[in-house]
């Protein structure tokens, strides 16, 4: 049974709109109707720009009528995280301090999507300033996991993961600082790819941790991830951390399911450090599939993994305390008066505008950078970051890529960790090491817990810098396995086709 456009990949959708089989407006309207039907319960979107999306879709239909149907994502709707700039659209970052703030310009990666013919539907829910692992730190709405609405969708790119998993958009962008795309991808049973640091320009992405942030796509399909990465990658002179290289080109192996000669390092510390047995079981079953395709599995150690969480939280909060210094009520965003002096306006604005977790992280970051404490905390964390980087360099002498769980647990219940900052930080155990090392990492839907809860589990693949092609090739092999898990949450949970 088919159900276009929802059962088409983004690549197939672009082809269908280019050829005239489907209209761009017809496609956009179908997604808008689906958002209307489901988003009241799921809260994937913070704002939906129905008028803007329809206007753009009409322009694409007109272009096609003129014989100008070009673009790798022609007519493909897309959801953007609420920390991304599209001129004239709200970018609130899940925060009161930026509520109603409209981006004055368009991010480079968004412009590249527009140039490729994509149709932005709206901005998705997120933890405030991308600080969180459950979406619960949003000042606005909290996304629900479409596989089980009592559970978190993960975070911080919660809404983008939900939008894709529930087919409210065929593809979406999030930002990944310490796992903010990979972990929600794992929790929502879809693909999430954090590219190599520097692969995608961050001009127009509102900053959290500048040495870590990376724009990252979600999709149902490996080819769709490749397509989005092709479109958004490549050098941009407006981001000084953008690598001076050409856009990504996918690998096209002659035989999809042959992985002979590939050495995969099984990340022992990611399995050992408190991984839920259900996660272990599902991930190990996927590794066996890779072995059956001829890959060689080698256990590897990554000895400094236990230091990754403290290192990450020291570095990321230090960078955040600096990046968020700009929100003081002077130039943009909300302003709260104070007693009439400049200093009191700054403090009153920040007090009223930031939520609890953001304040906690700004305080932590300010503390680890302050005179007398900087050497012991921040400078030490930067050195440990080098040791974590070296762990990966040593591992990649022996293996081609590393595999392990994306998250130590399946999606947890909403509210379960909300009052416990340390438990929440520890959710990021398997994702922060690759972030600290700037490496590409991909969460692949691996299956579901075998118990009655049937919760999605992700397998994480980590490769050397700029090895996205290799990670995606392995993911494509897994996707071709007969027991590859379904990724469409609503249709699958309703018992098959919609």
């Amino acid at each position: 049974m088919t159900n276009p456009p929802f059962d088409l990949t983004a690549c197939a959708l672009a082809e269908a709109v280019r050829s005239g089989e489907l209209g761009a407006l017809e496609t956009t309207d179908a997604y808008l109707a689906r958002i209307e039907a489901h988003d009241g319960a799921l809260h994937a979107f913070h704002s939906v720009d129905a008028d803007g999306a329809r206007k753009r879709a009409r322009e694409l239909d007109d272009a096609r009528a003129r014989g100008e149907a070009h673009g790798a994502l022609f007519g493909v709707p897309i959801a953007l995280k609420d920390n991304m700039c599209l001129a004239g659209q709200e970018a609130s970052c899940g925060s009161r301090i930026l509520a109603g703030y409209r981006a004055p310009y368009t991010a480079t990666f968004v412009q590249r999507l527009l140039d490729a013919g994509a149709v932005p539907l709206g901005m998705t829910s997120m933890d405030e300033f991308a600080m969180g692992s459950s979406g619960e730190n949003s000042a606005h709405e909290v996304s629900r996991n479409p596989w089980d609405p009592t559970r978190t969708a993960g975070g911080s790119s919660s809404g983008s993961a939900v939008a894709v998993a529930a087919d409210l958009a065929p593809i979406a962008l999030g930002s990944d600082t310490g796992g903010s795309v990979r972990q929600p991808a794992s929790f929502c049973g879809v693909y999430g790819l954090k590219p190599t640091y520097g692969r995608v320009s961050r001009y127009g992405l509102i900053a959290f941790g500048s040495s870590l942030d990376q724009v990252s796509p979600f999709a149902h399909d490996v080819r769709d991830l490749e397509r989005v990465l092709q479109v958004i990658s490549g050098h941009d002179e407006r981001d000084s951390t953008s690598l001076p290289i050409e856009p990504f080109e996918p690998e096209r192996p002659a035989e999809l399911q042959s992985l002979v000669g590939l050495r995969i390092g099984v990340a022992k510390p990611y399995f050992d450090a408190g991984a839920d047995p259900r996660v272990r079981e599902v991930c190990e079953a996927r590794l066996e599939v890779l072995r059956s395709y001829g890959a060689e599995l080698v256990e590897i150690d990554l000895p400094h993994t236990a230091y990754a969480i403290p290192t990450y939280y020291v570095v990321a909060t230090a960078e955040a305390s600096s990046n968020l210094g700009r929100y003081d009520g002077s130039l943009y965003g909300a302003r709260t008066g104070g007693d009439g002096s400049l200093q009191s306006m700054f403090a009153a604005t920040r007090d009223a505008g930031f939520g609890e977790e953001v304040k906690r992280r700004i305080l932590l970051g300010t503390y680890v950078l302050s005179a007398g404490y900087k050497d012991a905390w921040y400078n030490q964390a930067l050195k440990v970051r080098t040791l974590i980087r070296r762990d990966f360099e040593a591992a990649f002498e022996a293996v081609d890529l590393i595999a392990g769980p994306t998250s130590p647990t399946p999606p947890f219940a909403l509210g379960e960790r909300a009052g416990d900052a340390i438990a929440m930080y520890n959710s990021d155990l398997c994702t922060v090491p690759a972030s600290l090392a700037g490496l590409p990492a991909l969460s692949v839907p691996a299956g579901f817990t075998a118990d009655a809860s049937r919760l999605p589990i992700g397998l994480q693949l980590i490769g050397p810098a700029l090895s996205e092609g290799r990670l995606l090739r392995v993911a494509a092999a897994l996707a071709a396995a007969p027991d590859a898990p379904p990724t469409h949450a609503l249709d699958a949970s309703a018992g098959g086709a919609a």
Partner: protein, 99 residues
Amino acid sequence: MTDPKLELLRQTAALARLELNDDEARALSPQFDAILAHFEVLASLDTEGVPPTLGATDLRDVKRPDEPRPSGLSEALLEGAPDRRERYFGVPKTLGGEE
């Protein structure tokens, strides 16, 4: 008597331009201590001679030609101002009238 831990937290809040009243400081202090205690493991590593990693790429001193060009953004930026005064951003007085 002042609790040195609360005092440190208040000083940090002042540096971060955050208001923190006594109740908030008291509520936050044990969380802050617990997080730092959890992170203390970092100090146990011998990092003598290990260089710091400041960024995840090896790019250095990235520059572009210093050529003036219009941004075309002035109006859009001013539109977002909390207190726009014609072509200026309005803020409270910065000199005088303050301690």
